[in-house]
Amino acid sequence: MSHDTRKDEQIAAMTDAILANQTSDTATHDQELGEVVLALQKLIEPSERPPLALEDRLKLALNKEWQTRAAVSQTGGLPKRYLMAAAGIAAVFVAIIALSLSTQVTGDTIIGTAVGGTPDSSLVVLFSTVGLVFVGALIYAFWRRR
C-alpha cells in the first residue's frame, strides 16, 4: 500500500468514525485534515433534522404551489414533451395529406372533380402551407409558454 493510499484510507476511516459519532483520535492521523473533517461536521451537522416549523411552513407553501400547478395542468398545461410529440405527429399528418393530394392532382388518371373542372393544385399547396404554419405556431406558442 502506497503512502498516499494509506492516507486515503485513514482519512476515510476517520470521517466514517466522526460521522457515526464515534471517537476518533485525530492526533493519530493527519491532525490538520482531521480538524477540517471535524469542522465540516460542525458546519453541516448531517444528523440534525430541519426544524419542525420549517417543515410545516414548507408543506403549506408546497401544497399551495402544487394546487397552482394542478390548475395550470387542467387548463391545458400538459407536460411539454407530450405537447411537442402531439404537434410533431400533427405536422407529419399534414405533410402526408399534402403530399398525397399533390400526387393525385398531378397524376394522369384524375383529371377533374365531381363538380367539374380541374382542381387547382395551388389550393392544395395553400392549405398545406396554412396547416404547417398553424402547427408551427402551436409549437412556438407552447415553447414560449414553457
Partner: protein, 179 residues
C-alpha cells in the same frame, strides 16, 4: 406506499400530477437539501433558501427528463437557487466576510462567537474549492452516503473515491491556510 419506487419513477408520477409521489420525493430529499444549503449559505438564510428550492422544484418539474438521474437534476436546482440567493444579495463573495478573531482560526476554540466565526470560515473555504471537491464532500456529509455508495453513484472505484475525498479535504485545508 412508495418505499420501493425509485426517485425517477416518483418523479414521473409527480409529473403526471401525483401529489403523493411528489411529497414522497420531498420527504426523501428534505434532509439532504437542507444539509447542502447549510453548507453554503449563512445560518439565518438556510430556511428561506430551502423553501425556494422546493418551490422551484414544483415549478420546473416538467423540465425534468428521465434520461438523467433525479438527484443530479435536483442538485442543479439547489446550486442554481443558491447562486440566485447570492446574486440577489449582490455579493461577490459567497460568504459574508467576517472579522475573525485570531483565536477562531484555531478550529479547536469553543466559545459561541468563535463557533459562529468558524462556521463562516470553513464555509468560505468549502465554497472556494473546485466543484468536484465540493461535491464529494457534500455527498459524504450532506447526503450521508457511504464511500461505497458514492463510488457506485459516480461509477468509480472505492479507492478512487477515497483518494478524491482526501484531496478534497486537503484543498479545504489549503484554502483555510490561505485565508
Amino acid at each position: 406506499m412508495f418505499v420501493h419506487a425509485s426517485d425517477e419513477q416518483l418523479a414521473r408520477k409527480a409529473q403526471l400530477g401525483d401529489r403523493d409521489a411528489f411529497f414522497a420525493l420531498y420527504n426523501r430529499y428534505l434532509q439532504r437539501v437542507y444539509n447542502r444549503v447549510k453548507s453554503k449559505v449563512p445560518p439565518q438564510d438556510v430556511e428561506d433558501v430551502t423553501q425556494e428550492i422546493f418551490l422551484a422544484v414544483v415549478r420546473s418539474l416538467d423540465s425534468y427528463e428521465q434520461r438523467s438521474r433525479f438527484n443530479t437534476w435536483l442538485y442543479t436546482i439547489v446550486n442554481r437557487q443558491i447562486a440566485d440567493f447570492y446574486r440577489r444579495r449582490g455579493r461577490i463573495d459567497r460568504v459574508p466576510s467576517v472579522e475573525l478573531n485570531e483565536e477562531s482560526e484555531d478550529l479547536g476554540s469553543t466559545t459561541e462567537q468563535d463557533n459562529a466565526d468558524q462556521r463562516l470560515f470553513i464555509q468560505r473555504a468549502l465554497n472556494s474549492v473546485p466543484e468536484h471537491y465540493q461535491e464529494i464532500i457534500l455527498m459524504r456529509f450532506a447526503d450521508g452516503l457511504s464511500f461505497t455508495e458514492i463510488a457506485g453513484q459516480r461509477g468509480q472505484s472505492l479507492e478512487a473515491v477515497k483518494s478524491l475525498y482526501r484531496r478534497a479535504i486537503q484543498a479545504v485545508r489549503d484554502q483555510l491556510g490561505e485565508d
